[in-house]
């Protein structure tokens, strides 16, 4: 009953990418049209120039055409893997994104792994010792974590671990070798994990507390099952469902964190690309990034929903029971 639907379900969800991509790109194009003075103003960014120059630029970037045509051209381009050229550097947007994509993925993955691997066990542990000092310590950490903006945490960690203790490099993404890259990305990755980890701890703890109060836990204990089995199979497995629900927020939080962490640590990723693009109103780059981020989010949510099905037999593909 369950296995059969999965292929069709994934395809249906991937098909959802199309309207979402259309929606996002349309939103960005509409945003463009709202700029005082239009895209050319953004392109010039305050520099004075002759009318002839403006005209040449318009033609070069296709801005002389009506908005709807521009949109159409862009869409056709996207289908061919062409996201246009940067206003600033004239580089292909697709190339800039390709170059920086892996760094951001690695950074997000490090953050996700740390947040889950540390957050879930600590949240569980705290729930098992509700009200004790252990519990209060974990709750304190989780509140501190979720209250710490990544840019502040980044500065604090730079000061402590890079300058004072000199464990990690201060700046940059390394020389490109695999090990050097990891060495450079470890500290930023940890900073990325701080706020999401707080969230994971908090939700895991609340979900575990909820489970611990349930009859099925008490009944499992009354039947003499080992405490390990009770906590893992009866408690944590059920508690993972609300944690998965929060995973969407987790992905979004990590993505937002990337922007700040990359800019403080001077890492050439998508986040720093976005910052430089918005600072210079580089519309083609912003459009390209919005597209990538949209796809990213759709895929992340697909993974979450598949996770539900893995954990919860009550999930029937295509419909998650409202609980």
């Amino acid at each position: 009953m369950r296995g059969r639907g999965i292929g069709a379900y994934v395809i249906r969800r991937l098909a959802l990418l199309i309207p979402i991509v259309l929606l996002i790109s349309l939103a960005v194009f509409l945003l463009t049209s709202l700029i005082p003075g239009g895209a050319v103003a953004a392109l010039l960014d305050g520099r004075a120039t002759s009318d002839a120059n403006v005209k040449a630029l318009r033609v070069k970037f296709g801005l002389d055409k009506p908005l709807i045509t521009q949109y159409w051209d862009w869409l056709v381009g996207v289908l061919h893997g062409d996201l246009g050229r940067s206003f600033r550097t004239s580089q292909l947007v697709s190339n800039s994104i390709k170059d920086r994509f892996s760094l951001t993925i690695v950074l997000n993955s490090i953050g996700l792994v740390i947040a889950v691997v540390i957050g879930v066990p600590l949240g569980t542990w705290a729930a098992m010792h509700r009200g004790s000092t252990k519990d209060r310590t974990v709750v304190g950490f989780s509140i501190l974590g979720s209250s710490s903006p990544s840019f502040v945490a980044a500065l604090v960690f730079l000061w402590i671990f890079a300058q004072k203790l000199n464990w990690f490099p201060l700046f940059g993404a390394g020389d490109g070798s695999w090990s050097d890259r990891l060495y450079h990305l470890t500290l930023p990755g940890i900073v990325m994990a701080i706020a999401p980890m707080g969230l994971v701890m908090k939700i895991t703890r609340a979900a575990m507390l909820d489970q611990i109060g349930q009859d099925h836990i008490a009944f499992a204990r009354a039947r003499g099952l080992s405490e390990r089995r009770v906590i893992l199979v009866y408690g944590l497995r059920n508690a993972l469902i609300p944690v998965l629900t929060a995973a969407g927020l987790l992905f979004v939080g990590l993505l937002t964190g990337t922007v700040f962490v990359e800019s403080v640590f001077g890492l050439p990723g998508l986040g720093s690309l976005l910052i430089s693009a918005v600072r210079s109103s580089d519309l083609p780059v912003i459009q390209g990034l919005a597209l990538i981020i949209g796809i990213w989010i759709v895929l992340a949510n697909l993974i979450i929903d598949l996770g539900y099905a893995l954990v919860d037999p009550r999930v029937d593909f295509g419909r998650r029971e409202e609980r």
Partner: protein, 291 residues
């Protein structure tokens, strides 16, 4: 008065009211928040001008005259941080307040009215929750301009969905309860049921949301100003001050990190309060014996 209302009213065994008084940490949180409010009201005059430059005293370490030293332009760090208090709490207050109002309206309406209203509201909520609100704010504020006010509007728009979902969840638990059904059959008007009966019973959730929203908005707005968006350069905003003084991180870490530490402290203190209320409400200590 206690905030949690779920009690076991059996005349049997009640060890509720156990934690009616907030723990020390929450009391400290409330205290810190209030002191920040007081500082924002009176602090400016007391700490001196945030823009007064003294070119002979640039990048000075902490001293008696400048407790945390001065920045690269010779401005007193303490004065700048204190001057930023106003904007720091005003924006989050507005964002949290809009979240409170909209979520109690839309969350309760979605839960109680159900049907199409619920579907429409929740589809929108799900869609918006999937978007990175702060990134959208970064893009829009930088492309369109509009500064701090625009940032507040955008963050308000993206903040409210989480609240709606939580309030709806709490209200949907109330809806099938006999007391609500009895009110329906007694002919009490829908609006009254929603806002005079359901609303007070989910009020603790609203307060908790308010606190948590405040902290999130504080961090988000500081993030925008850290990136140089949302305000004029040179304005004493905590995020902007932090960015200005990034360069003196290694020479005068205390001064460089001060605004960041204040952000964290304020967020922690508000989160402590919100978390405490939420914890009490969603997991009340209940103990019944017998059937």
């Amino acid at each position: 008065m206690t905030v949690a209302t779920i009690t076991t009213a059996q005349p049997t065994l009640r060890i509720r009211k156990r934690r009616t008084r907030p723990p020390l940490s929450v009391a400290l949180g409330i205290g810190f928040f209030l002191s920040i409010v007081v500082v924002s009201l009176i602090g400016r005059s007391w700490a001196g001008s945030p823009t007064a430059q003294s070119l002979r005293e640039t990048s000075k370490p902490p001293s008696g005259a400048h407790w945390l030293g001065t920045d690269a332009l010779g401005r007193d760090i303490v004065a700048r941080v204190l001057a930023g208090t106003n904007t720091a709490i005003l924006g989050p207050l507005l964002i949290a307040a809009s979240g409170l109002i909209l979520s109690s309206l839309l969350g309760i309406a979605a839960a109680y009215l159900g049907g199409l209203t619920d579907t429409v509201i929740m589809r929108w909520v799900d869609f918006m929750l999937a978007l990175p609100g702060l990134l959208v704010a970064i893009v829009v504020v930088s492309v369109l301009g509009g500064g701090y006010a625009m940032a507040i509007v955008l963050l308000s728009i993206f903040n409210v969905q989480g609240d709606i979902r939580i309030v709806r969840g709490a209200a949907i638990e109330q809806k099938p309860l006999p007391y609500i059904e009895a009110l329906r059959s007694l002919g009490i008007k829908r609006r009254r049921i929603m806002f005079r009966h359901i609303l007070p019973n989910v009020a603790p959730i609203l307060v908790a949301n308010f606190a948590i929203d405040f902290a999130l908005a504080l961090v988000a707005l500081a993030g925008l100003s850290f990136l140089g968006l949302g305000s004029e350069p040179g304005t004493p905003e905590w995020g902007a001050i932090l960015a200005e003084n990034q360069s003196i991180l290694f020479s005068n870490p205390a001064a460089s990190l001060a605004p960041g530490v204040v952000i964290i402290l304020l967020a922690v203190s508000v989160n402590l309060v919100g978390d405490w209320i939420y914890d009490r409400y969603s997991a009340p200590e209940r103990l019944t014996s017998g059937s």
